[in-house]
């Protein structure tokens, strides 16, 4: 990858160690993705906010990095580990470490969005705009449905793009990679958003390219979120298109069942978690209608961003849901939250394929995977 003179100098440390390491990251991902140059981006969305995901090494890294670097473009951030207004059951150590991470990001000037669905919270730039999104569901959703151009960035590569305002011109930032070779033909009837999640999980696992064509009708926002999050979880694919590819892979009933068997490891759970991705207005409205006049029979946590929560509160939507006994956990999400740990629960009911993957593998908690409608039906009365 060719660097300009200014970029070379920054890489050599002329603008400080933080920017030098940012350019080291950009140089490495530029080589990995075969980029010829860096281009300006207009928005970075950074992951690596939850203490459970970045650990002590991450806390220390950000503390140091944030004393030397400032954001160069609009930067939004992923959920943290918990809702600071609901610290019950969260250890003091966790709260301290989490607070340090939040301070580091704020010191760099990020918008304290704590959301994995920035595309539901912020104004969307025009189609074709280069951005750098680390959160994989946001990258897949934005490439596929909003026409933004991002690679499936890592926490550190999006951070490097945030403080330099640049990203490699490669892969999904070029039209060629956005034209999928492989298509998946869904040979079964979708019954809920969960089936879109299972399709996404299969697609991510099966297709090694940057994009995949899905021969399905255009999904609703709720379905597209489930699909995007699942594609982002299981593989390296960062975009889907609706239509046929040049090669076709079939996704039939037995594939749906195989994906379900892998992710759904329990029949029932001690509690219910809704989200990942964090619920948006569409899902909250859908849920409110399903639980109207009913009460949850188990503890139910709803993960959403503060921005969506505030918007929903204004029109009375949060109140309608809270009357069912469900609790809102803002700024956080199902994946790797200390709210859902092995010492507290053996198993969890969740609507999320992505959540199920991380609950099983990282939280070591078993998961009963069910769609929102089924959860509302089975666990309220």
């Amino acid at each position: 990858m060719e660097l300009s003179r200014d970029e070379e100098e920054a890489l050599a440390g002329k603008q400080g160690e933080a920017l030098a390491s940012a350019y080291r990251i950009l140089a490495a991902i530029g080589e990995a993705t075969g980029a010829k140059k860096l281009v300006p981006i207009q928005w970075a969305h950074v992951s690596g906010v939850n203490y459970n995901t970045i650990g002590d090494a991450g806390v220390q890294f950000l503390e140091k990095f944030s004393r030397e670097a400032m954001i160069a473009v609009k930067t939004t951030v992923n959920p943290m580990g918990y809702d600071r207004t609901k610290p019950e059951g969260i250890s003091e150590k966790f709260q301290e470490k989490q607070s340090s991470i939040v301070k580091s990001y704020e010191r760099m000037g990020v918008a304290p969005s704590f959301t994995c669905t920035p595309y539901e919270v912020f104004d969307i730039p025009q189609k074709g705009t280069a951005v750098s999104f680390a959160e994989s569901n946001a990258a897949v959703f934005s490439n596929s449905l909003l026409g933004l151009m991002t690679n499936k960035e890592s926490a550190l590569s999006a951070l490097a793009s945030s403080v330099t305002g640049k990203a490699p011109l490669s892969d999904l930032r070029l039209e060629e990679a956005r034209n999928p070779k492989v298509g998946i033909e869904a040979n079964f009837k979708f019954e809920s958003e969960l089936d879109y999640g299972l399709l996404g999980y299969f697609a991510g696992k099966t297709v090694k390219d940057s994009s995949v064509a899905l021969d399905i009708s255009r999904p609703s926002t709720i379905e597209a979120k489930a699909l995007s999050a699942a594609i982002g979880t299981s593989g390296s694919c960062g975009m889907f298109t609706i239509g046929k590819g040049r090669e076709t892979i079939s996704f039939g009933k037995e594939d749906v069942q195989a994906a379900r068997d892998e992710l759904s490891t329990a029949d029932d759970g001690d509690i219910i978690t809704l989200g990942s991705p964090q619920l948006g207005m569409n899902e909250l409205d859908y849920l409110a209608k399903l639980v109207e006049g009913k009460k949850f029979t188990k503890r139910c946590m709803i993960f959403c961003s503060k921005a969506i929560h505030n918007q929903a509160a204004k029109i009375g939507l949060t109140g309608r849901i809270e009357r069912s006994g469900a609790e809102f956990m803002c700024d956080s999400c199902t994946c790797l939250t200390p709210y859902v740990s092995k010492d507290k629960y053996d198993s969890v009911v969740s609507n999320s394929v992505k959540g199920a993957y991380y609950l099983n593998s990282s939280n070591k908690v078993k998961v009963a995977l069910k769609d929102i409608k089924t959860i509302a039906k089975e666990y309220t009365k």
């Binding site: 390491s21 080291r24 990251i25 140089a27 490495a28 991902i29 080589e31 990995a32 993705t33 992951s47 690596g48 939850n50 995901t53 970045i54 650990g55 002590d56 090494a57 991450g58 220390q60 890294f61 680390a134 959160e135 994989s136 690679n151 499936k152 960035e153 890592s154 926490a155 550190l156 590569s157 999006a158 490097a160 991510g204 979880t233 299981s234 593989g235 390296s236 993957y357 991380y358 593998s361 990282s362």
Partner: protein, 134 residues
């Protein structure tokens, strides 16, 4: 045996026993940073440690935070001494860049299995070269 014409992703050099897998790795979900051990019982490298090894694998999958997981390996002293991919992904490239772990991609016509499990391998990323001692 010398494998030349590798593509440098992160410069530097490192040597160790080759830990070879054809399966992708999710660094956030599958690796215990404190020990460097692969903790996913469904993975071929289950219970194997990355510490000091030359990790030979296709590419990373899964969470974007995997980059911090790679950086954590360095901080805990459990990092591989070098990484060889069939096609390094952004998580591996960025995590290793910050952790100063050399990374190369194998030439397109060279399979991962060209490096035998447990063989001593020396990766010289800047020269695009892997020396495998049998």
């Amino acid at each position: 045996m010398i494998i030349s014409n590798c593509k440098k992703i992160v410069g530097g050099s490192g040597e160790g026993h080759a830990l070879v897998t054809a399966q992708p790795i999710n660094f956030l979900a599958m690796v215990d940073a404190k020990t460097g051990v692969i903790t996913d019982s469904r993975h071929e490298l289950y219970n194997k440690s990355l510490k000091g090894a030359v990790l030979v694998f296709p590419y990373a999958v899964g969470s974007s935070v995997g980059a911090y997981a790679i950086f954590s390996l360095r901080e805990y002293g459990t990092a591989p001494s070098a990484v060889v991919c069939s096609k390094a992904d952004i998580t591996t490239a960025s995590g290793c860049a910050i952790a100063s772990i050399p990374v190369v991609d194998l030439p397109q016509d060279t399979p991962l299995s060209a490096i035998k499990q447990g063989a001593v391998a020396a990766v010289q990323a800047d020269e695009g070269k892997i020396i495998v001692k049998v």
